[in-house]
C-alpha cells in the first residue's frame, strides 16, 4: 500500500508509525526519494548501498576535439558552454540526448552513465526492512529510482513471506507518483483541511481514480478548520472513499519527530489510539 499526500500533511510520520505497528509483518519503502526523511525516525543501518545510474551525460575528449562547434550548434539545452576557448559539457544542463555525440566529426564525444543517486536496503531499529534512496543533486527524478525502491521492497517481501509492503509515496501528481501508485493494492491519502490540501487531494484522487486503485483517507489537523474538514468529508462520501482516521492539529507530532520517535511511540493518548485503529482498518481493507 502507498501513503500519499501533499508535503507537510504528515505522510512520513504516519507511514513511520505504521512501520512500527506492523513490525516484522511489513517491509517499508521510502519512495519520496527527492526528500527522503523516514530514515530519521526508523534509524536504518544502510547495510546495503548501491550507486544508481539512470540516463546519460555527454563527455568531450579534449584531445580529439577540433573545436568545430557542431555540438554547441545542435544542443537545445545550453549544455555546451565555451570556457577559455574550450568546448565543455555543463553536466547540470545536459539532458543526455546524445545529439552532440551523433554529430561530432571526430567522435570526440562519449555518452557516460549518469549518476541518479544512491539506493539502500537497511534493517531498521524496529527490526524490519527499509528500502530507500537518495536522489543526487539536479538528478532527473524519473520514476526509475522510485520503481527500483518499490520493486526491491516487493521482492524482499515475497522472498521472506512478509505479507505487507508500505510505501511512503512521492508528493504531487507527476511521474514518480504514478510509479509509486501503480501496482499497489491500496492508497492511503493523507490530507489536511486547508485550501491547498483539498486542492491537492482532489488532483491525487483523480489520478488514483484513473488507475482504478482502492483508496482510503486520513484527515490530519482535522480540527484546524471545521468547515473545510466537512467539505473534505463530503468529497470523500461522493467519491466513495472511506475515512479511516481524523487526527487533531497537535504539536505532539513535531515533538515526536524532534525526539526521534514515531508518534505511536511518543504519544500514549488519543492520537496514538486513532493511528493504531486506522492501521487495523487498513489491514482489513487491503
Amino acid at each position: 500500500m502507498v501513503i500519499s499526500g501533499k508535503g507537510g500533511t504528515g505522510k512520513t510520520s504516519i507511514t513511520a508509525s505504521y512501520a512500527v505497528l506492523g513490525g516484522k509483518e511489513v517491509v517499508v519503502a521510502d519512495c519520496d526519494v527527492d526528500a527522503a526523511d523516514m530514515h530519521l525516525l526508523l534509524k536504518p543501518d544502510f547495510k546495503h548501498k548501491e550507486k544508481f545510474y539512470s540516463g546519460k551525460i555527454a563527455e568531450i575528449n579534449q584531445d580529439e576535439c577540433i573545436k568545430c562547434g557542431k555540438c554547441k550548434d545542435v544542443c537545445r539545452f545550453d549544455a555546451v558552454p565555451v570556457i577559455d576557448g574550450q568546448y565543455e559539457i555543463d553536466e547540470i544542463n545536459c539532458e543526455g540526448c546524445g545529439y552532440c555525440f551523433h554529430v561530432c566529426p571526430t567522435e570526440a564525444i562519449t555518452m557516460k552513465d549518469s549518476l541518479s543517486g544512491d539506493f539502500f536496503i537497511s534493517k531498521t531499529r524496529v527490526d524490519n526492512t527499509l528500502v530507500h534512496a537518495r536522489l543526487a543533486i539536479a538528478a532527473d527524478n524519473s520514476g526509475k529510482l522510485v520503481t527500483q525502491v518499490r520493486t526491491e521492497a516487493k521482492r524482499i517481501a515475497e522472498e521472506n513471506n512478509i505479507p505487507y509492503v508500505i510505501a511512503d509515496g512521492s508528493p504531487g501528481i507527476g511521474c514518480p507518483v504514478v510509479a509509486s501508485v501503480t501496482g499497489s493494492n491500496l492508497v492511503v491519502i493523507v490530507t489536511e483541511p486547508t485550501v491547498s490540501g483539498i486542492h491537492d487531494m482532489s488532483r491525487v484522487a483523480e489520478l488514483i481514480g484513473k488507475f482504478g486503485i482502492k483508496s482510503v483517507c486520513i484527515i490530519n489537523k482535522a480540527d484546524l478548520n471545521d468547515d473545510i474538514t466537512q467539505e473534505i468529508k463530503r468529497f470523500l462520501n461522493n467519491n466513495k472513499i472511506p475515512l479511516i482516521a481524523e487526527l487533531p492539529y497537535d504539536l505532539t507530532f513535531a515533538d515526536a519527530i524532534t525526539a526521534g520517535k514515531t508518534i505511536v511511540e511518543h504519544d500514549s493518548g488519543m492520537i496514538s489510539r486513532t493511528i493504531r485503529e486506522s492501521w487495523k482498518k487498513i489491514l482489513k481493507t487491503v
Binding site: 539512470s54 541518479s116 532527473d140 524519473s142 526509475k144
Partner: protein, 105 residues
Amino acid sequence: MKIVFAATGGNWDSTVDSRFGRAEGFALYDEEKDELTWHSNAENKAAGHGAGVQAGQKVVSLGADIVVTGGNFGPKAAEVIQAAGIKMVPDVGEITLKEAYNKVK
C-alpha cells in the same frame, strides 16, 4: 508461428516473467523449426523510461506472432505490440514456459 515469452530463463522449465518491459529476457519459440532461443533483456532493464517501448520493439524484431507475460503489459508496451499486430497474452502467472505454451495452444 513464433511465440515469445517474457521469461526468467531460456529453458522449457524456466518460469514466465511477471514483468514485461523489465523482464530478464525473452524466450522465442519457433514452431516450424521447433527451436527455443533465449534473448536477454539486460540492456533494457536499465532503461530509465520507456523500457516497455524498447522491449516491445525487441519482440517485434524477433518476428513474434504472440507475446506471453506473467503479469501485465504496461501501456507503452501494449501500444507498440498492438500496432505491430501481435497478439498479447497477459496474466498467465508465474508458470513454466512449457505450461504457458500449453495454455496458449
